[in-house]
Amino acid sequence: MTKKQQYRMYIWSTCVLFCLQCNKKFDEPPVYRGPDIHPNRSIRELRNRHTPGNFEYLTEDQVIEGIVVADDSRDNFYKSVVIQDSTGGITIRLDGFGLYTDYPVGRRLAVKLKDLWMGDYAGMVQLGAGVDRSVPAYPEIRPIPVPLFNRFLVKKELNQPVVPRQVRLDELADSLQSCLVRIDQLEFAVNDTGKTYADAVNRISSNLTVKACGGGSAYVRTSGFARFASARVPRGNGSITAVYSVFRYDKQLLIRDTADVQLTGLRCRPPGIKELLVEDFEQQANGIVQDHGWKTIAESGDQLFLINTTQNNRYAEISAFATGKPVVVSWLISPPVNLSNSANEILRFVTKDGYDNGATLQVLVSGNYDGANTPWKARWTPLRALMAKGSVPSINPGWVSSGDISLSAFSGTVHLAFRYEGADPASVFDRRTTRFLLDEVRVLGN
């Protein structure tokens, strides 16, 4: 071999070596196509075989099929998925996490029933792989172990339409268990509005009451582990889409995510009562009050009522603090309220105070205010209302209701006004800079 040939050989052998080193990329597997398996039983037929309190061992080669309507992606459903067909729904207990990765909402799922067990937990019918009798008084369905998923569950097409059933609250019955239902005209009970869905910090579940305008109630139950547990429930009225569940005699609605709760309308009105003025400031923009016919005017001190937001709640607020003005007088004036077509009108609102050092908020009514920017020229009658006061170190955590203030002594078209009076002079002792928060202004009449 000549030198040249030798070098060529070295170079070639090095090149060959490096080529052998190259790593080929793995082929991607084809998209999953499930086996062709068809149901021969409806979910209702299956459920009909259940005797309450009993456990049925399923021995026949039967198959049900449904579309997953709820999964564990937001952690409100735990170790279970819910499937539904045209006849009903059922909850399948599965002993795993992240079930939504295999059984997401919208997937068509066939269940081979042979060797499964059906039972109920406090009335809620479930499918599982066995019965846990470790506490003999309270036997319970065991979830299906992960390695057995594919023995019983057959994954089919994804992204099937999930259509909730439209029902009324009073129609909820055991035949709708584990069905995705949509109920209109619901709202959370007054005591529960403003609460969070559950206690996310301590991971404690909670039951919040929902009411229908036409009467009746149920619980919205949310797990403390749900990812939306710390969200606050809305205060309005509207529709809720949820999986219907029972716990003994309790009717429970399990939402999949907060998007299932569409309570944007006005809350229910008792029959016969008219709302002459309703303002919760929720639809107003942050900043100076100017929407919905409301206006704010500074008589002296250049201070205006502002819309502010705390914990998703909007309200109007005012304070003389840090204005440096010896006199602060400000007005918040409602749009005109027509009292002509009603009787026994009452006014209600709520207030909070903060850092109280003696400023005042009054509520006034006037029949001759002309809507101009000089309200002090009109004749105003003060009304007796309960105002928040005395919260010195911080803002009062709770709202103080004004009580029902009768407006029956007035007639025709009137304006309501909230008049703030404070001061922020140089001398600390003369400062009256209390902050007032105002919300939920209503005038009702028969």
Binding site: L17, K79, S223
Partner: protein
């Protein structure tokens, strides 16, 4: 030489990165008594998160894997046995951890200064050239300088020191690889004073001994020497070894039983018709060595070497986000997790019918990723920027370590009289490693997000805590992007050593001293959302200065009998990973950072006669003030914790015997005994820190005094019978191993874990007992021959060398080569079987056939 191929290749250091899960413990079950509890809403929700712990398997795979190779120059009977026959049990001489051994190429240190382990992958494939080595014991004679405590392999890779030959060699095997081809061409000095050497090799060709594993790789080597008239020998060496290893995972006894035999590997799964392994290591650390050896006269020699190394090591592993654990041997997927006997049998049956349940289901991972369309708010930290796509629930991560290393060393040896030789060395070493996690494969998804999933659960709603990098929040990640962690480790080391050797008629003596200083700095490249002020930028520099001394005498009873006595006292700096508690996220360190002190003494008798080669020795080594950091999921705290141990003392003592006796001219017997006792001799202090908030949760002592040092059989016996006739030989060898202990979990041996256990109860002894692996007997057979022939048309003779080696002749498939107790421990039930030990199994019958042509 051919025999030297295997032991090194069998061994693999694995950056074992283990994913563990994170969960919430089952609370008391809510029964009907709680009117609001519906069973599908039980509070015992669990989270299923991937955790990266370095330590879980590193505890055993990181060590025990380096046995200095064949001792061509000073062939010791016992060391040879250790290299060829005891490696089946990962035997380590004297029970020393790998950071006690050393390796050098032309005077440059090949131990990684960060963890002390020899970086064997730098040279491991290049058997044709690295056979030119000497193995010297650390305490022994000082002629070659001051080395580590254990054995050090000194390799001379200069071209002129290679055997002049043209060699083509091919190997067939069923071990780590199936085929190996190599080509070597070495030329000694020509008239102009140049010598060159060249060697390349390739190995691979399919599945290795264990299912789903394979090793592919290639090595290259080129060296050039120039001898000058002035007495200089200038050398240049370039070497590199690129290797990709699809790994074998540790195995639970339960999965082994389900599988039917020990050849189970949880790391692979079918993807199409291919076996794909999720845990693959890659390594390529090319090295350049420039050196000069200068002989000014016959009495002295100067050496100067400059070494540069730059390369990458990486290890892949599955990572997942908001999805179930993809590992098939996760404890909840196994029959033992079922409390109901019917379901337990049902699961076992199902696994029997569907063996693929024991492997990774790659198709499912792709399916899940293909259906995970998600919109990310404020993507890439831009307010209002929406990014929509398939977000990876599963991905294949690659944990990368990029290394840059430079070393300069110089040495001087001279005989100042007929009696006395002195040697002085100095070296300067600088290494920067860049460690980060990156996305190797998105498995069908389109993006991932640089979030800390643990923080997401611990700090719900906190948009900063979840950021792995506050400098780049909500980063949209694609394949190849770095994520999770990213930091540099800068290590600087300098040392000087001096030794003096004297020899008289009846006696030799030596003494040596070594002084070194070591510096570490961590430099974070990401500002972690949990530790914004401790993650980014340079940490304070830690600096250590250490002194070691050794001395010994050698009494010559006669020319063939020696009696020797040696002692060494050594202090060394702690290693980076044992100082920093969680270097991936922050610069926190152990509270008390101390160096280790080691004292050792050894005495022995050596006999060398034509019929008998014999050595017997006794040694004792005490190792004090060691440190360690373990990271794992702590069930009692329900959190990933860093478990910092300090004050670990060890005591090793024992005897070694190696003898080779010629029965007749053709028959020979060898006997080797290494019987030691290696104990932990202190109660180390532990301190537990939560990985996510850095608070010290608990402190105490681990009651592990007199627990056995794990990872190697403490007793190994070998008996060989050889037949040699002309140029062929046959060797039958039996090995017997005893006292091999499992790596234990320190948290079970604490007051806190044992607090409510009745003393002396069965539970008590189960919790504290250390498991001993069964005793084992193995048989190996090897043979070889060589013959010379002249090919037609050739002027020279050619040699053909043939070698056949069969290990584990009895085809035993239940040999445990090691194992460890899982660090995870269920503190509520104290059930040690919930997270049972994991084991490594040795190969069944394995062979290697090598044919070489020397032209």
């Amino acid at each position: 030489m051919l025999r030297s191929l295997w032991p090194l290749l069998l061994l693999c250091v694995c950056n074992n990165i283990h994913a563990q899960r994170y969960h919430r413990a089952d609370k008391e079950k809510n029964r009907f008594t709680d009117s609001t509890a519906a069973s599908l809403l039980k509070e015992d929700q669990w989270y299923d998160l991937p955790i990266i712990t370095l330590n879980e398997t590193e505890r055993t795979t990181g060590d025990g894997v380096f046995v200095p190779g064949l001792l061509m120059a000073n062939r010791d009977v016992l060391y040879t046995m250790a290299a060829f026959h005891f490696s089946v049990k990962r035997f380590r001489l004297r029970g020393y951890a790998p950071d006690m051994s050393g390796a050098q190429i032309n005077g440059l240190h090949l131990n990684d200064p960060e963890d002390g382990n020899p970086q064997w992958s730098v040279w491991s494939g290049l058997n044709e050239v690295t056979k030119n080595n000497r193995v010297i014991p650390g305490t022994g004679t000082a002629e070659l300088g001051f080395t580590n405590l254990g054995n050090t392999m000194l390799m001379d890779l200069r071209a002129s020191r290679q055997r002049e030959q043209l060699l083509f060699s091919t190997t067939f095997s069923n071990r780590m690889f199936r085929r190996r081809i190599s080509f070597t061409r070495n030329r000694s000095f020509n008239k102009k004073g140049w010598a060159s050497a060249f060697s390349v090799n390739w190995r691979g060709a399919g599945e290795s001994h264990f299912p789903g594993t394979d090793q592919k790789g290639g090595g290259y080597y080129f060296a050039l020497d120039k001898q000058t008239r002035e007495g200089h020998l200038l050398s240049m060496v370039i070497l590199g070894n690129s290797v990709t290893t699809a790994r074998q995972g540790p195995v639970l006894k339960e999965s082994m039983q389900l599988n039917g035999n020990a050849f189970y590997n949880p790391y692979w799964g079918w993807q199409g018709s291919k076996k794909r392994n999720a845990n693959t290591n890659r390594s390529h650390l090319p090295m350049l060595v420039l050196s000069d050896e200068y002989h000014p006269d016959n009495q002295s020699v100067y050496t100067v070497s400059l070494g540069l190394m730059a390369g990458r090591r990486s290890a892949t592993a599955l990572d997942w986000y908001n999805a179930p654990d993809p590992r098939p041997d996760y404890y909840r997927y196994l029959p033992s997790y079922q409390t109901d006997s019917l379901l337990r049998n049902g699961v076992a049956e199902e696994i029997g019918d569907q063996p693929s349940l024991l492997q990774i289901n790659w198709h499912r991972l792709y399916d899940v990723n293909r259906n995970s369309r998600e919109t990310l708010q404020d993507a890439d930290g831009i307010k209002g920027n929406l990014f929509s796509g398939l977000r990876a629930r599963y991905l294949l991560a690659e944990r990368i370590t990029d290394t840059w290393k430079a070393e300069f060393s110089m040495g001087y040896t001279t005989r100042i009289s007929n009696l006395v030789t002195i040697n002085a060395d100095a070296y300067l070493q600088w290494q920067q490693t860049h460690r980060y996690n990156s996305i190797r494969d998105l498995l069908g998804a389109e993006y991932s997000v640089d979030w800390n999933t643990f923080a997401e659960n611990d700090y719900p709603g906190n948009v900063n805590a979840i950021q792995n990098n506050l400098h780049h929040p909500n980063r949209v990640l694609r394949e190849g992007d770095r994520y999770g962690y990213d930091y540099l480790v800068n290590t600087a080391r300098a040392g000087i050593t001096g030794t003096v050797t004297a020899s008289w008629q009846k006696m030799d003596g030596f003494a040596g001293i070594s002084l070194s200083t070591t510096e570490y700095t961590r430099e974070g490249k990401m500002r972690n959302g949990l530790f914004p002020f401790h993650s980014y930028g340079r940490s304070a520099t830690l600096s250590f200065t250490n002194l070691s001394v050794k001395t010994g005498i050698n009494y010559k009873i006669n020319g063939r009998k020696y009696l020797y006595l040696q002692a060494m006292a050594m202090s060394r700096a702690p290693f980076f990973d044992n100082i920093f508690i969680s270097p991936r996220t922050r610069d926190s360190q152990q509270e008390r950072v101390t160096g280790e002190t080691i004292l050792t003494a050894e005495t022995g008798l050596i006999l060398n006669s034509p019929k008998l080669k014999f050595r017997v020795s006794a040694y004792i080594t005490g190792q004090n003030d060691g440190m360690n950091v373990l990271t794992f999921y702590h069930d009692a705290y329900r959190s990933l914790v860093n478990y910092a141990l300090s004050g670990i003392d060890k005591m090793h003592y024992g005897t070694e015997l190696g003898a080779e006796y010629k029965l007749t001219g053709k028959w020979m017997v060898q006997l080797g005994v290494s019987a030691g006792r290696y104990y932990y001799s202190s109660r180390p202090a532990f301190s537990v820190t939560a990985d996510n908030d850095a608070f010290v949760l608990e402190k105490g002592r681990v009651y592990m005094k007199n627990f056995r040092v794990e990872g190697t059989p403490q007793e190994a016996y070998g008996l060989g019978l050889s037949y040699q006739h002309n140029s062929s030989y046959l060797n039958l060898f039996a090995s017997y191993f005893r006292e091999h202990w499992l790596a234990f979990n320190p948290i079970r041996r604490t007051y806190q874990a044992m607090e409510n256990v009745v003393e002396g109860s069965e539970q008590w002894s189960r919790m504290i007992a250390q498991e001993k692996l069964p005793e084992q007997l193995t048989l190996d057979l090897s043979g070889g021959c060589s013959f010379r022939l002249r090919l037609p048309g050739s002027q020279h003779f050619q040699t053909i060398l043939l070698y056949v080696g069969v290990n584990n002749l009895l085809n035993k498939k239940d040999i445990l080569s090691g194992g460890y107790e899982q660090l995870r421990f269920d503190a509520d039930t104290r059930n040690v079987d919930k997270f049972p030990p994991k084991y490594f199994y040795a190969m069944g019958l394995n062979y290697s056939v090598n044919i070489s042509f020397r032209l």
